[in-house]
C-alpha cells in the first residue's frame, strides 16, 4: 500500500483523515456524553441547504455548508436550552427543511452537478491542500477551547444544574459546543459525506467510552480510533476501488459490532458487577 503515498491526493487524504478524526474524537466525545448524536445528524443534513444555495449563487459549497451547519446548530442549541423536551422535533424539522432547500436550489441551478454526490457520500480522495489549511486551524481551535474549559465542559455535561448553581455560564458554553459541532460537521462532510457524519462522530467515542472512565482519555482514545478507522478504510477503498466514505464507515461499524460482541462475551457489565 506504500506506493499509494507517492500520490499527493493520497497524502492529502491521510492528513485530512487525521485532522477530522481529531476533531471527531474531541467533539464527538462531548456529543456522545451529552446525547447530541441525533442533533449532529440534523446539523449535517441541514447543511445540504447551504450546499444547494452555494451552487445557485456560485460560491464555494463548503462555505455554504459551513454557514448552514453552524447556523442550524445554533438554532437547535437555543431551542434545546429553552425547551429540552421538544428538541428532537426541531431537529427533525431543520433536518428535512435543510435538505429540501438544498434540493430546490439544485433544481434551480442550470447544468449537471456531478460533484453533489461527493457532499452526500464524501470525497476524501479529492481533498485539496487548501482544505487542509482550513482544517488544521479549526482542529487547533477546538483542542484549545476544550483544553481551556475542560473542567467546565465536564461539569455541564455531567450535571448542568449543579454547574449553573456554581455560577458557570452554562448556556454560553453550550453555544460554544454547538458551534464546535457545526464546524466539525463541515469537516466531516468532506471526508465521509453528510449522510455518514453521525457514524464518525459517534462510533469512535462510543468504543472509547467502553474502555475508559475519564472524559479526557475518551477524547484522546476516540481520536486514535478515528485515525485507525480512516486509514484502514482508505486503504480498503484504494485497494478494492470502493467509495472511500462508505469504506471508512464500514470499518468503524465493524469495530463497533466487534466491541458489542466482546462486551457480551466478557461477562456481565462492570456497572452491575461492581455494585457494592
Amino acid at each position: 500500500m506504500w506506493e499509494a503515498l507517492h500520490f499527493e491526493f493520497m497524502r492529502n487524504a491521510l492528513m485530512a483523515g487525521v485532522f477530522v478524526s481529531i476533531a471527531c474524537g474531541v467533539v464527538g466525545s462531548l456529543v456522545v456524553v451529552n446525547r447530541l448524536v441525533f442533533l449532529s445528524g440534523g446539523i449535517a443534513h441541514s447543511a445540504y441547504g447551504g450546499i444547494g444555495m452555494a451552487l445557485y449563487f456560485g460560491i464555494s459549497p463548503t462555505v455554504g455548508a459551513g454557514i448552514f451547519s453552524v447556523g442550524s446548530s445554533l438554532i437547535m442549541g437555543a431551542v434545546s436550552l429553552k425547551s429540552k423536551h421538544r428538541t428532537d422535533a426541531i431537529i427533525g424539522v431543520l433536518w428535512a427543511v435543510g435538505m429540501a432547500i438544498g434540493v430546490v436550489f439544485v433544481d434551480l441551478t442550470p447544468g449537471y452537478h456531478v460533484d453533489l454526490m461527493s457532499y452526500l457520500f464524501g470525497s476524501i480522495l479529492a481533498v485539496p491542500k487548501s482544505d487542509l489549511w482550513f482544517m488544521f486551524p479549526l482542529d487547533l481551535l477546538i483542542i484549545l477551547v476544550v483544553l481551556f474549559f475542560f473542567k467546565e465542559f465536564l461539569a455541564l455535561s455531567y450535571d448542568d444544574e449543579f454547574a449553573r448553581v456554581r455560577g458557570i455560564p452554562v448556556n454560553a458554553l453550550y453555544l460554544v459546543l454547538f458551534c464546535m459541532i457545526g464546524f466539525s460537521v463541515v469537516m466531516v462532510i468532506r471526508i465521509v459525506g453528510l449522510i455518514l457524519v453521525i457514524a464518525l462522530l459517534s462510533i469512535p467515542p462510543y468504543i472509547a467510552e467502553k474502555v475508559t472512565a475519564s472524559l479526557g482519555k475518551m477524547m484522546v482514545l476516540s481520536s486514535l480510533f478515528g485515525i485507525l478507522f480512516t486509514v484502514i478504510g482508505l486503504w480498503i477503498s484504494y485497494r478494492f476501488n470502493l467509495t472511500s466514505g462508505a469504506a471508512i464507515i464500514l470499518v468503524a461499524g465493524a469495530a463497533f459490532f466487534l466491541t458489542l460482541a466482546l462486551d457480551r462475551f466478557s461477562g456481565p457489565d462492570q456497572h452491575q458487577n461492581e455494585e457494592a
Binding site: K151, E152, F162, A163, R166, E274, A276
Partner: protein, 253 residues
C-alpha cells in the same frame, strides 16, 4: 441581627398552567437547621430549585442571604435528589467531587492544589477516599450519595440544601450524616428535604411542611395541621416507629 438566610414573600410557581406553589412565605435566620416535609408532588423540590435560582418564580420574592438567588448561588451547596443521572458517564469519584470547587472567578483555570486537598479530606470524611479513581456509575446508590454530599461540602457553602440525602444510604451512614450536619450547622445554615419524620425530632431546629402552600414552624414542632396537610392517612405514617414527642400533646380539638 444578621441578614436572614432565606426570606420568601408570597411566592407562586407553576409548571405550564399547573400551579405547584402558592402564597409561600417564610423567613429563615442564619444558623438554622430546617426540615422540609410534605407529600410527593407537593412542591418540595421545586421550592428548593427556586431558592437555588435554578427555577424562576412566577410571582413573589426570594432573598437568599439578602440577595437574589442568582447572585447568591455561589455561596450555596446543593445535594440533588437523584444521583443516578448519567450512570454511564465517564467520570471518576474524585472528578465528580471536585465539581464543588468550580467557580465563576476561576473560570477556565485548572483546579488548584488547595482544591484537591480540600476534596481529598471531604472524601475521607464521607468514607469514599479509597474509591476515588472508580467510575461513579460503578458504585451503589448509597456510595454515590456520599460523593454528592462531599461535592456539596467542597463548595464551603453558607447554606447547604439537601434533597432527601438519606434516601438510599444505610442506617449507619444516615446517623453519621446527621452528626456531620449537626457539626456543620455551627457555621452553616442547613435546609433538608426528608420523608423521615424521626430525623426531624432529633436534629432540626425548625420545620416546614409543603403541599402547594407552606406551613412553617420555627420551633421544629410538627403540628396536626401539618400532618393533615401532608398526608392523607397521617396516623399510619406518623405512628410507625416514631418517638411520641414528635407530635405536640393534643393541642388539636
Amino acid at each position: 441581627m444578621d441578614t436572614p438566610a432565606i426570606e420568601i414573600k408570597d411566592l407562586w410557581f407553576a409548571y405550564g398552567g399547573i400551579p405547584v406553589l402558592k402564597e409561600v412565605s417564610f423567613t429563615l435566620e442564619q444558623g438554622d437547621f430546617m426540615a422540609i416535609l410534605g407529600p410527593n408532588g407537593g412542591g418540595k423540590t421545586t421550592l428548593l430549585k427556586l431558592m437555588l435560582g435554578i427555577l424562576e418564580p412566577k410571582r413573589g420574592e426570594i432573598r437568599i442571604l439578602g440577595k437574589k438567588p442568582h447572585n447568591a448561588r455561589e455561596r450555596l451547596g446543593y445535594v440533588p435528589q437523584s444521583t443516578d443521572i448519567n450512570l454511564t458517564f465517564p467520570i471518576s469519584v474524585f472528578e465528580l467531587a471536585l465539581m464543588g470547587r468550580l467557580s465563576r472567578s476561576r473560570f477556565g483555570r485548572r483546579y488548584s492544589y488547595e482544591d484537591k486537598e480540600k476534596v481529598a479530606s471531604l472524601l475521607k470524611k464521607v468514607g469514599m477516599w479509597e474509591y476515588r479513581f472508580r467510575p461513579v456509575g460503578s458504585l451503589s446508590g448509597g456510595q454515590r450519595q456520599r460523593i454528592f454530599i462531599a461535592r456539596a461540602l467542597a463548595v464551603e457553602p453558607e447554606i447547604l440544601f439537601l434533597d432527601e440525602p438519606t434516601a438510599s444510604v444505610d442506617r449507619e451512614f444516615e446517623i453519621g450524616l446527621y452528626d456531620l450536619l449537626k457539626e456543620l450547622n455551627e457555621n452553616v445554615t442547613i435546609v433538608v428535604i426528608t420523608h423521615d419524620v424521626g430525623v426531624v425530632s432529633r436534629h432540626v431546629k425548625s420545620v416546614a411542611c409543603v403541599n402547594h402552600s407552606l406551613i412553617f414552624h420555627e420551633d421544629g414542632k410538627i403540628t396536626k395541621e401539618m400532618i393533615d396537610m401532608a398526608y392523607t392517612c397521617p396516623v399510619d405514617l406518623v405512628a410507625h416507629g416514631l418517638p411520641h414527642r414528635v407530635l405536640p400533646d393534643h393541642e388539636e380539638e
